[in-house]
Amino acid sequence: MKRLLELSLGIVTSIGGFLEAGSIITAVQGGAVFGYQLLWAIALGTVGLMLLVEQSGRLACVSGRTVGDALRERFGINFFVIPLVTGLIVSFLVLASEIGGVSLALQMATGISLQWWALPVAFAGWFLLWKGTFGIVEKGTSLLGLVTIVFIVAALKLHPDWGEVTAGLLPTRPSHDRARYWYLVVSIIGASISPYLYMFYSSGVVEDGWGVDDLSTNKATAVLGMSFGGVLSAAVLVVAALVFLPRGIQVERYEQAGLLLPPVLGHAGFVLFLASLGIACFGATAEITLAMAYLVAQGLGWDWSENAKPKENTRFSLTYTVMILLAGVVMTLGVDPLKLTNFSMMLTAASLPVTVVPMLVLMNDEALVGDHRNRWFGNVALGALSIIAIVVLLSAVPLQVMGGS
């Protein structure tokens, strides 16, 4: 019974914690310009994330090591510097965009500029990390994040043509604006498969003390939690396809997304959109900050645990303090949240090979995962994902220049 409860909570928190600034806005932009045509990119990203979450969780359950630990031990510190530096740069930009997302929700509610909100938001995030435990950070914000289910409610109320929705799950070439289409494909993949997500997940498995007995819980959380999360992202795109595309609204500013739900749910839709944006981005803010501190601490061999008091892991707590406050400062400088989010999603996608390709080696290392190493299916799937990640890396720069302008 207790295990079932844990499983349910794990799945529910995966759903509640799925959406964030990047996945919301890339889905809105995709639906507003290309209708259902980009649903396949969300499906691909979700399957990719599911795969990486399951494998990073399995690695942690069996070996007791996080992805960061395993990368450093298996490949040495000289190699580890690459994912460390790449991960920190990309995660920092994503962190700034998440703080921007919370600040924007507050700006849309109050009219007070997001630049004034950025530091208080960063401070609130820091306070949660300083005072809270891993369970509070992960489950608390994710349970509140269930408010994002409003997008599914709105999508159902709009009665989409399910045949067309299903057809959107198959990749097709766009009839117009090809550069923008592929730019959004890459951004959606970047928003779905953020390395911080599975880095954070594997650290969470260690924090929660999961072992081999929890492998089935890990698999169920990865498959069910991420699938339902993907459905949430898809719902955002479907609503944008039915509300913005027929009206001809393209999203030039993040704030325009606030018009997504009112035509369907009235004033409640506006309030719930703000709540969804604010809570989802706040949860992501806390998780990314922790993921960065985990990565640094695990890479440099420091003590780390969100469940311990900050003074017991001073370098770990100092790292997240510096990261979150610096990201808050960046957002006070007047950076456009939409441009930053789009850019950071593109960069996230481009950084995927750095962590995805080595996972192939880690998940086949008998010394690390023993009998639980990848079978042919896991290797083929991860291999395919690695190829996609490399293609994304090669196309990211030209697409940023062409589609991002």
Binding site: G35, T110, G111, A167, V401
Partner: protein, 165 residues
């Protein structure tokens, strides 16, 4: 703000024709596939042309006109907040001014060259009027601004299509 705005009902507003559809059967898409990814090699050229593409800039302005209309309607029925409405109208006006400043008349097709600047100025003025109506809490003015934005949206969309030909 009166919850029932008398001038413009949402249902009366025309939507762009056609639901979101797949384009796999589209002839243009099939044609495009012949060229595959080769356009990636033309990055500098596309960048040079794409950034200041007048058709896209006009389409962007049309999107702001529609956003203004929707904002006015939603504000009129009390669905969105006052601060949010004013904030987004302000952001839109700034973007329209950017478009005005960056639009190179020499690159705008002759057929629409004389109409685009006027439409942009009118949109800017409509957004200002919508903002004033929100500040004063005047539903009649807001309704009139929504109707003007609706008409401008159609005009700009048509100009964008002509500029893209």
């Amino acid at each position: 703000m009166n919850a029932t705005m008398p001038t413009l009902a949402q249902a009366e507003l025309p939507l762009r024709e056609g639901p979101p559809t797949m384009s796999s059967s589209d002839g243009g898409a099939r044609n495009a596939s012949r060229y595959g990814w080769s356009w990636c090699a033309l990055v500098p050229l596309v960048v040079a042309c794409g950034v200041s593409d007048p058709a896209k800039q006009i389409e962007r302005a049309a999107s702001w006109a529609v956003t203004t209309r929707e904002l006015a309607i939603e504000r009129g029925v009390g669905s969105v907040g006052r601060a949010y409405t004013l904030d987004l109208l302000d952001a839109g006006r700034k973007d329209i001014r950017k478009i005005e400043a960056s639009l190179d008349p020499a690159k705008v097709p002759a057929a629409v060259r004389s109409q685009v600047p006027g439409a942009l100025v009118e949109l800017d003025s409509t957004m200002t009027r919508a903002g004033d109506a929100v500040r004063r809490g005047n539903p009649l003015l807001l309704g009139a601004a929504a109707a003007a934005a609706d008409s401008l949206g159609h005009t700009l969309e048509s100009l964008g299509e002509q500029a893209g030909k």
